[in-house]
């Protein structure tokens, strides 16, 4: 379970950034007092256009960023006060995730397993299970730099799942991937749901959201515009389809 309460994030702006953004302000508010809840066995989607604050929120959930205000409870652990403990429960995957090109998948998975404190026996068992699931046996000892994008994506998934996390945070996981490669991620998200894990993913692709999510929140310029179940969202739609409704809500907030 993820419980987010009154979460905010403010960044200090450098002189260069102030010049680029054409502002005199010394700080920028990226996430403004948002609250939502993700339940185990359900898929939560954080929707928003580019620059809405999705990645900042996801980075706060995965403890890379420290919130300026608010509370994050990850599986019963306060992720702000005890980030180390919270990280043990989280698997984090982004579309732009890089991998160590000079290592082999085997070496990389072993490394992350050790960093998550998984015992050697369990690493071996989890590796075997995930390799079979993702059909990775053939390229487990090749250098990652020589693998195709699809193979690399499988390695990323395996890395995310090696410690069998109870919460999975996906930040635009399919961005930049072709449909075949993106399918691996879609399957992974569905599998996680079946296993009763808590899943949150950020996206701006409505077809993906429609296919996967049970609950959703729409964020724009750091503010939460909607938070509820997919059924609630569909029930109050004023347009024909999800994409049009998403655009309508964003525009409405801009005009308000």
């Amino acid at each position: 379970m993820i419980q987010v309460s009154n979460l905010s994030k403010t960044f200090d702006l450098t002189r260069q950034q102030r010049k680029e953004l054409n502002t005199e302000e010394r700080t920028a508010l990226a996430v403004d007092n948002i609250s939502f809840r993700c339940e185990p066995g359900r898929i939560f989607s954080l929707l928003g256009p580019n620059g809405a604050g999705k990645t900042t929120t996801m980075r706060m959930l995965s403890t890379i960023y420290k919130p300026s205000a608010g509370e994050i409870i990850m599986g019963g652990t306060d992720a702000v006060k005890n980030p180390q403990e919270a990280r043990r429960k989280i698997g984090f995957l982004t579309g732009s995730t890089g991998l160590y090109a000079r290592l082999t998948p085997n070496e990389l998975i072993q490394y992350f397993g050790e960093l998550y404190g998984v015992s050697k026996d369990n690493i071996a068992k989890r590796k075997e299970h995930l390799y079979t699931l993702l059909d990775m046996h053939d390229f487990q000892n090749k250098r990652i730099g020589k693998l195709s994008t699809g193979m690399k994506q499988k390695v990323s998934i395996c890395r995310t799942m090696i410690h069998d996390p109870e919460i999975i945070v996906f930040d635009e996981p399919t961005s930049g991937l072709d449909v075949i490669t993106a399918e691996n991620i879609i399957h992974l998200i569905q599998n996680c749901k079946e296993q009763g894990k808590t899943v949150i993913f950020s996206s701006h692709i409505m077809s993906e959201v429609d296919l996967l999510c049970d609950d959703l929140a729409i964020i724009h310029k750091g503010e939460l515009l909607f938070s509820g179940t997919m059924n609630d969202f569909k029930g109050q739609m004023q347009t024909d389809n999800l994409t049009a409704e998403f655009i309508r809500i964003v525009h409405q907030s801009q005009n308000a």
Binding site: F11, D12, R59, S62, T63, I64, Y65, K66, Q84, E85, R87, R88, I90, F92, T94, S96, T97, G98, L99, Y100, A101, R102, L103, E107, Y111, F112, E114, L115, Y116, G117, R159
Partner: protein, 396 residues
């Protein structure tokens, strides 16, 4: 966890060709190549200069004294051919065109001066761009002068001893080891510092800026490993790379001295062997480890701050000069380790090493140098930690 990160980073670093080149291949090969080229070029030059047959143009009266004396000199002093000129204008012209390599003008009243027992003038022309010619002329003239001097003493019936009122004997009380230490001892730490910096540079950029640029740092930061442990694991590899590069350079230098006859003098070789004792090497590394940590601690905040490999490289490369200049100061003879120099980073390590090689070390000053360097290294590590802990620096 620090060791897990260290192991993985080391494995990755050793698989990077660029880092391997900078860390091991270049440092090992640089001295054998330089010494080989220098010794072969200089020996061929010396051989060439000694055996080269030169033409000497002479302007003097018929049956001249100098031509006769020169032709009597043994061929072991270099082959020569004498050419007679009528005037110095033509002689200088030919000297410029390299038709002749030396010229001599003996005035018409030369013999008169000799007979009157007063100094007889001889003008010698040479081209300074033709290396070794002035020395060749000086060699010839000193033999001729000595011969004439003996003749003059005999003629005057004076014992040569009587013209020498004092016999001065200069005795050097410094051992060869001390002299090498004081005069050339700064060279060893200088090499170490230069290569250590170069060895640290690529891993520092690769492990911090590179990780940020490749997008791998985010995943590392989501693992339950405290950031200081990640920093220490990575920093360990940067320090080790610096030490490896410097050790490889010293190994290359030692091998070239041993196998390529970099030092011809057997006594000098014995001194070099006595300097390179195990206790000296241990003490040297004790002094150099805090320096390497300091280098890593200076580079890491820059590498953490930079957004691209190029940006990091463009800041760290000029820093190389800033770090190596103090090392050069320590190379100057006469710059000694004292209370002041022991507090100047980098300079203190070079001077301490010089004292160590010379065997004249003052334990208090060496300890002070070590403490100063260790404090600076700790400070640099602390700054690295503060930078690495700052989220805006770590994530793009």
């Amino acid at each position: 966890m620090i060791f897990t990160i260290f192991k993985k980073e080391l494995k990755e670093t050793l698989r990077d060709r660029r880092t391997l080149m900078m860390m091991l291949v270049i440092p090992i090969l640089i001295f054998p190549i330089i010494i080989n080229i220098t010794s072969s070029v200089s020996s061929s030059f010396q051989e060439d200069a000694a055996t080269k047959k030169i033409k000497i143009g002479i302007v003097e009266s018929k049956n001249g004294f100098l031509a006769k004396e020169l032709s009597q000199l043994p061929e072991a002093l270099g082959k020569k051919e004498l050419v007679t000129y009528a005037d110095t204008t033509r002689l200088i012209k030919d000297l410029k065109k390299d038709k002749i390599q030396l010229g001599a003008y003996v005035s018409a009243n030369f013999q008169l001066h000799v007979d009157s027992m007063i100094p007889a003038p001889v003008v010698l022309f040479f081209n300074a761009t033709d290396l070794g010619m002035q020395e060749r002329a000086q060699g010839y003239m000193s033999i001729i002068e000595q011969k004439m001097q003996v003749e003059r003493f005999n003629k005057l019936n004076i014992s040569q001893e009587k013209t020498q009122p004092i016999v001065s004997e200069y005795r050097n009380i410094a051992s060869d080891k001390e002299m090498i230490g004081k005069l050339a001892g700064g060279f060893l730490p200088y090499i170490f510092i230069a290569f250590c910096f170069m060895g640290c540079m690529y891993p520092a950029i690769d492990l911090f800026t590179g990780e940020k640029e490749r997008g791998t740092i985010e995943t590392l930061l989501t693992t339950p490993v405290p950031r200081w442990q990640i920093l220490f694991g990575k920093m360990g590899v940067v320090v080790l790379s610096g030490l490896l590069a410097a050790s490889a350079a010293l190994f290359g230098l030692f091998m070239s001295i041993e196998t390529l006859n970099g030092i011809d003098n057997a006594e000098l070789m014995a001194v070099v062997h006595s300097i390179l004792s195990p206790s000296f090497i241990v003490l040297l590394y004790c002094l150099l480890i805090p320096l390497t940590v300091f280098f890593a601690g200076v580079m890491i905040p820059i590498a953490v701050y930079a957004k691209t490999f190029k940006e990091a490289q463009s800041i760290i490369t000029p820093l190389n000069i800033v770090m190596v200049i103090p090392a050069m100061v320590g190379l100057f003879p006469g710059v000694e380790l004292n209370g002041l120099t022991a507090c100047i980073p980098v300079v203190n390590i070079v001077l301490s090493t010089k004292e160590l090689i010379a065997g004249t070390l003052d334990p208090l000053l060496v300890a002070l140098s070590f403490i100063v360097m260790t404090i600076l290294a700790v400070l640099a590590v602390f700054i690295s930690y503060r930078r690495f802990d700052k989220e805006s620096n770590v994530v793009l």
